[in-house]
């Protein structure tokens, strides 16, 4: 089975600060693998361990995506395609999906895995749009994948509970963060990663005009000025809270 994982590099949200004067985000410059994609890599490696085959990572973006590729190779991914996009932030999700679909058609995988959404833009659109452009089905919110003969049996989380679905490859699967902790790259893995093949591709960016435009992000205004009770015995704090609940007709 050939599994391709799509991975995005994002700003490290743990080091993101908000400038309270302007409400604008201040990036540290540190970058990370989008958390959902890290789970997608783990799911891909587990599926390979169960069903055999090969795992390829594809990452598109500025030259720094090399870092997320190296990390995935060190986790155990076999090979990589690094797609350089001149100005990734100017592209809408459908344009990014078109670029990735072009690469996937060359790789002809059985299963494409990606994260449910990205930590930065949070649209969750690229995965389903890649599936649409490939003409394949997709399954989102995936928490477990099991090979079941020719088909895959997939567990997913929905508002109504855990759903089990069945689908035969080729298919796009979108991983949720869940109970499978992504493995950490080992020293041995990191050494091995250096020898694994990384194909470099210059992306041909679709000529269509962006279908959406977006403003600079800003923090939403909040008017809440809360009462904070500190260094008060629990019984007293509880009394104050219940008094406040009554005052606001919440009891």
């Amino acid at each position: 089975m050939h599994i391709v994982v799509l991975v995005k590099q994002v700003p490290d949200l743990n080091t993101l600060k908000i400038d309270h004067a302007t409400g604008k985000p201040v990036f540290s410059g540190q970058k990370a693998t989008s958390s959902f994609d890290e789970y997608a890599v783990e799911e891909a490696l587990r599926l390979k361990e169960k069903a055999g085959g090969e795992v390829t990572i594809v990452s598109a973006g500025p030259p720094t995506v090399k870092e997320v590729i190296t990390r995935a190779l060190a986790m155990g991914v076999d090979k990589a395609v690094q797609v350089t996009l001149p100005d990734p932030n100017a592209l809408d999700t459908l344009a990014v999906a078109q670029v990735l679909t072009g690469e996937l058609q060359k790789l002809s995988p059985d299963v494409v895995l990606a994260g449910q959404t990205s930590d930065d833009e949070q649209t969750g659109q690229v995965g389903p749009q890649v599936a649409e452009l490939l003409g394949w089905p997709h399954v989102s919110a995936v928490t477990e994948i099991e090979a079941d003969g020719e088909a895959l049996k997939i567990q997913r989380d929905t508002e109504d509970g855990k759903q089990i679905v069945s689908v035969a490859p080729p298919v796009v699967l979108l991983a949720l963060t869940g109970q499978n902790t992504p493995r950490l790259p080992s020293i041995k893995g990191m050494m091995a990663a250096k020898r694994k093949p990384v194909e470099q591709v210059e992306a041909t960016v679709p000529k269509t005009k962006s279908r959406i435009s977006w403003s600079e992000p800003k923090s939403p205004e909040r008017s809440a000025t809360g009462t904070i009770v500190q260094d008060v015995p629990p019984a007293e704090a509880a009394k104050q809270l219940v008094g406040w609940l009554k005052e606001n007709k919440l009891l």
Binding site: I18, D120, G124, A131, P137, H138, T158, K162
Partner: protein, 329 residues
């Protein structure tokens, strides 16, 4: 531009009833239709959903398109992409609103790709400027928001986060209800739903709950979650959970509040032992009143709390339960 053709909203059934977000979309749809021209058409798919369809008409949809039958018993991205695309072709709307549910987030991007149009994801506010839909949506873990402007192509599409609009409360609307046929290909039906394992059906559902008590890592052990359940019972609230405790397997995903769980905006939200990671805040920050109980005075949850208690939750929560019981007696 398909001016005058109004707005198409996709409603979701829950069994034979409606998901509350469907009624929220009627409000949002009406707001856009007033600016763009035309009326609000709702489309809904499911099995034996006549009552749900009538309710949409009564609540204010001018027209309701219904796809009823076995093929729509389970919501899959393939079938719903076909359903929604065909409803768009039929009504030629200026804008399409889709619920930001697991299902809606699934088929909306496919529909947009099939039609080659833009899609604004997970919007919390909508407006119209010079005929273009402008949507406010959270990015970067919900700590900041961006305004997205849809341009050029019709229809303009957006998914809308649950709890962002008031529910339409009308009951005397007389919109028309029309059954539609949807043609499905083999490619649309390749994903088969085998079963649904419902969890924790005993408790009150988070969706549409008026009060919610949620617990997080601060409870230390799964057994201690009983404190949250007891406080919820005392307040008559539904039980929620943070992503950390759901990921750890303490609680089912159906209770998860936040970016990858549910977005809630109850009148009262009580966060117990939840520090307030961004992915949690984004799911509950529009609650009317937020109460936080946490040991760490620097926990981000206190920044958005209307009432916060800094203290040991194992002492504070039992004391609050006692006080609530006294107050309610």
């Amino acid at each position: 531009m398909a001016e005058g053709n109004g707005v198409l909203i996709v409603a979701e059934a829950a069994g034979s009833d409606l998901r509350p977000v469907s009624l929220e979309l009627i409000t949002a749809g009406r707001q856009l239709a007033d600016a763009l021209g035309g009326g609000v058409t709702a489309v809904i798919g499911g099995m034996a959903i006549e009552d749900a369809a009538q309710r949409l008409a009564a609540a204010g949809a001018d027209k309701v398109l219904v796809a009823d039958g076995d093929a729509f018993a389970d919501v899959t991205a393939g079938v719903w992409t076909a359903l929604v695309t065909q409803a768009i072709e039929r009504t030629q709307p200026a804008a399409v609103l889709i619920p930001g549910t697991t299902a809606g987030r699934d088929y909306a991007p496919r529909v947009a790709a099939r039609l080659g149009v833009g899609l604004a994801a997970d919007c919390v506010e909508l407006a119209v400027e010079d005929g273009a839909v402008v949507a406010v949506r959270p990015v970067l873990g919900g700590r900041v928001q961006t305004a997205v402007k849809l341009a050029g192509n019709t229809p303009q599409m957006a998914t809308v986060r649950a709890g962002s609009f008031e529910r339409a409360t009308g009951s005397d609307g007389n919109g028309s209800v029309e059954l539609i046929d949807v043609s499905l290909s083999d490619d649309d039906t390749r994903v088969k739903v085998l079963e649904l394992v419902q969890e924790a059906a005993a408790g009150q559902s988070l969706e549409g709950a008026d009060r919610i008590v949620s617990g997080g890592r601060g409870l230390k052990e799964p057994d201690q979650f009983k404190l949250v359940e007891d406080l919820a019972a005392a307040l008559g609230a539904a039980v929620g959970a943070s992503r950390a405790v759901v990921d750890a397997g303490w609680r089912p995903h159906s209770e998860q509040v936040g970016q990858t769980g549910q977005t809630v905006s109850p009148r009262l939200y009580v966060a117990v032992g939840i520090s307030g990671a961004v992915q949690h805040l984004v799911g509950m920050q529009s609650s009317d009143y937020i109460v936080a109980i946490n040991r760490d005075p620097d926990a981000p949850i206190f920044k958005i709390a209307s009432f916060g208690i800094v203290g040991d939750l194992f002492e504070v929560v039992p004391a609050v339960i006692d006080e609530v019981k006294v107050a309610r007696a």
